[in-house]
Every structure is written in structure tokens, then in C-alpha cells.
Amino acid sequence: MRILLVSPRGEFLGRSRAFADFLRNSREMRTILHYWNGLGAALPTIAALTPPEHNVSIVDENYQTLDLNQDADIVGISAMTQQAVRAYEIARAFRQRGVYVVLGGIHATVAPDEAVRNVDTVFMGEAEQTWPQFLRNFQEGAAKRVYRASDYGPVDMTTIPLPRYDLLSGTRYPVVWVQATRGCPHDCEFCTASQVYGRSYRHKSPAQIAAEIREVKRYWKSAQVGFADDNMFVNRRFVSTLLDEFETLPFTWYAQSDIGIAGDRELLRRLHQTGCRIIFVGLESVVEGNLVNLNGNKWKARRFARYGEHIRAIQESGIGVYASFIVGMDEDDHSVFDRTIDFVNQHHIMGAQVTILTPFPGSRLRQRLLDSGRITSSDWRLYTAWNLVVSHPILTHAEIEEGLLRIYRSIYSEESYRDRARYFRQVFQNLVSCG
């Protein structure tokens, strides 16, 4: 069979014209945006799970042109929420020609009732077990409308094959996202990760991850390696063995983690030594009240008072913190914008991603805001986390958009850049003198 896998074109930023102008004129933001997307592991992994007798190709519409008249027996689409509308357009075009279309990924997992109206088969959750089963069923003429990962149990990640990166080797990606672990213990109100992967924390084997990195570097010598995992360093024994593997791998990398790693100086030292240069940390808000109801155990609220100290510990190890903040949360008032600017600048945070509170389908946040009638748009194209799609108790739409722009203008100004450069120069002078 000819199987075409597609990542649909998607918007990843906001539609504010003023913000677009700012992005065009900010050198630092242009560099950040260069590394914004890249190649994820989903479709290369699906390709690797496909038996070799089938002919598989991948089109990443964010980097390539998709021919809607292409011949295929099955078109498989993977989409996040902001790609859903385009995913359905693609599905419609292929289905009109009689091609069988399936949809997986985050959006299909959290909005299966909508997805099933637009495609022939929907995959909910991890596809490592359901995709091969679907292919067998399809060939027998008995494909189901919905395949649920939960019917098969959690995937043993050590059995996941090496992703077929070779299928996209002709495309120049600035960053390739590798998946080493799945799961996050925090279950924040706005996040859908636990809906997709469940609460159990799992990982690939260190040797398996090292093999993936070698494969990535084989095809994209100059690409950065980012780990797409929601919280990579939860299992410290696994991380220690993984870093042993990384000692001999010539690459630098980025990862996402909670702020809890700041207390482990030896881990931070080893992370820097093995090439970790940036850690993305979800701090979420500079307003403590926003963190209290974020997750059941108030994990982030309990660490709020020590955020600054934790950031310092990570950055003094030579690893930059790229912090994420959300504005438009319920406890925000007009001061949130200046407070965010002050926090980022005061702590010399290497980079910050500030987004607008977005009720993604499948999240507890969406249900709460639906119940209180506060969702103003369910146009998925706006669900990039850079557009306002909810009403706020105090702040107007214009105030949030203008405030967000003010934050970016300040934290990515020439003055802030110079301040951070001086700070990190001092950090590295200290590290170099300590040998």
C-alpha cells in the first residue's frame, strides 16, 4: 500500500499586526522563531511502525508543499489543535477522491467526536500499538472508526523503533525534537499532556535515545536537538544513565523540566557537561494566586517564593533558563505585565515565552471556562496560545494584547540583551575560573 503521512500547515503565533511588526524587527525574536518549529518525532515514528512491504512517505506542510492530488491508499494526518482546521481541509480533499484518511495526534485524542466527523478513522492517544493493528484491520477490510490507546495499555517505550528520519532527510530543519520520556506528574489545569500520555512516567532506554540522536545528526549535522518531553528529569536514576550515554555524543541539546532540578547541583553540573544548554521551565505566572489552583498538590505554588533562587542555581551552572509565563489568568490585573517584565529582567532570565491563557480542548481549564461562559472563540486556528479566545474578569482584549507586546518589547530590548549578556559572561567567567 502507498501510505502518505502529513503534518498540516499551522499558525503558531498570534494574529496581532503590531506583534507581527515587532517580530519582524527584533533580531533576537527572529533567532528564537528560527528554532520555533522543527521536526517532531511523531510521523517518523509512525513510518517506522509501518511494515516494510508498504511504501511510506511524509510531507511536512510547514516546510514542504503538499500535493492534494498525490496517489495514496491511506493518508495519515497528525495534528495539534491549531492545525485541526487545515487537517480537515486536507482530509476533505483526499476523501473526495476516495482515499482513506486517518487522524491522530493531540487534537484527535482530545476531540475525537469532532475528528470522527471529518476523517475515516481516529486514533486517540499513543499509536505504537493501534497503528499496526489498524493496518492489519484495513487490509482485512475491517478498519474501525476509532482506535483508543487506552484499550491496549501504556506503551513500553523501549520497544519503539528508530524513527524513519531518512524520509525527511532532504528538508532542512533548524531543530529536531526527540522524545525520550512520556508523562508528567503535575497535571496542570491548562495542560492536556496527561490526557494524551496518562499520568504514568515512562522512558526509552538510554542506548535507544543515543541511537536516535546519532540518526538525527546523520541527516541534520547542524540541527539542534531538543527533547520534546514534558518533564524530562523526573526519574533521576534514568537520567544519570542517559547522561553517561551523552558523555561521548558530540551534540548540544535543550530540554523541558520543572523547576525541581534546581536543588540538584550535581545533576546541573552533569547536564552542562553533557551539552545541555537551555532548559524550558514552566513558571506559569508571577502572580502567586494563579498558581494555587493550577494543580491539585499546589506543586508550583509551593515553590513560588523560591523561583528566583532556583533560576539562579540553574543559570549559574551554565544552563540558560527559558521560562514560560501565561498572561490572562484569573488572578491577573493590570500590574501583571510590568511584574512579568521586572521578574524576567531582575533574574536575568535567558529567554521567556509569554503566552495568553488558552483553554485547549481536553483540559480542565476548558471545562471550567465553558461552564462559566467565558470562551469567546472555538476557531481552532486561533488556538496558538498567542490569541485571546476567552474573556477575562478584569482585563480587556486590547489590554492583554498591548500588555503582551509591551512585555516582549522590554525583555527583548537591546538594553535587556546587553544586561543578560553581562550576567552570563560573569557566570561563565566564574565557571571557567573554578575549572
Binding site: S222, A223, T252, A421, R425, F428, Q429, L431, V432
Partner: protein
């Protein structure tokens, strides 16, 4: 000192020493350091890594550099040229 463009270098030359520092910090093989390669977009050396490179050059080469050094260069060749020129000027000034 002459400027080399992506060939082999005689060990101990300033450029060779700078290359070793950049290679150690970026974990990129020095053979990748062709003059026309874009330092950020193609090598992935960002502002954070550049500060580590500057601090290490200061320590190992006794070179005094401004934080803005990195901001004004685009290619590997421009970066090495700037460091070499700065080194020569500071050496001449004593």
C-alpha cells in the same frame, strides 16, 4: 597571521586555539567551522554559548572582549577574524 578558510591549520596557531575552544563548548567538530557558515542559524551557537566562548577565550588566551562582540558578526569567518584582530591589537598595545 594569515586567515585560513576551512582548510587545515598548523597546530598552535591562534585560529587553531580559538577553534579548539569553540569546538569544546559547542561540541561541534572543528572541521565544520568553514568561514561562510552562519554562526547562529547553521552552527546553532546562540548568545548564551557565545558568552561561554568569550569567557573561555579571556581565560585561556588572555583576551579582553566586549559582550557585543558576538552580536555584530554573522559568519564563522567574521567571528574568528574579529577575535584574531582583537588579539593582535591587544598584544600590540601591551
Amino acid at each position: 597571521m594569515s586567515k585560513h578558510s576551512g582548510g587545515t591549520y598548523y597546530a598552535g596557531s591562534l585560529r587553531h586555539r580559538i577553534e579548539q575552544i569553540v569546538s569544546r563548548i559547542s561540541r561541534i567538530d572543528a572541521s565544520e567551522f568553514q568561514d561562510d557558515v552562519l554562526i547562529r542559524e547553521e552552527l546553532g551557537i546562540d548568545s548564551l554559548m557565545s558568552m561561554e566562548i568569550l569567557a573561555t577565550c579571556e581565560k585561556e588566551l588572555e583576551l579582553r572582549l566586549d559582550e557585543a562582540t558576538f552580536a555584530c558578526v554573522e559568519t564563522v569567518g567574521e567571528f574568528f577574524q574579529l577575535l584574531e584582530t582583537t588579539y593582535e591589537e591587544q598584544k600590540a598595545a601591551g
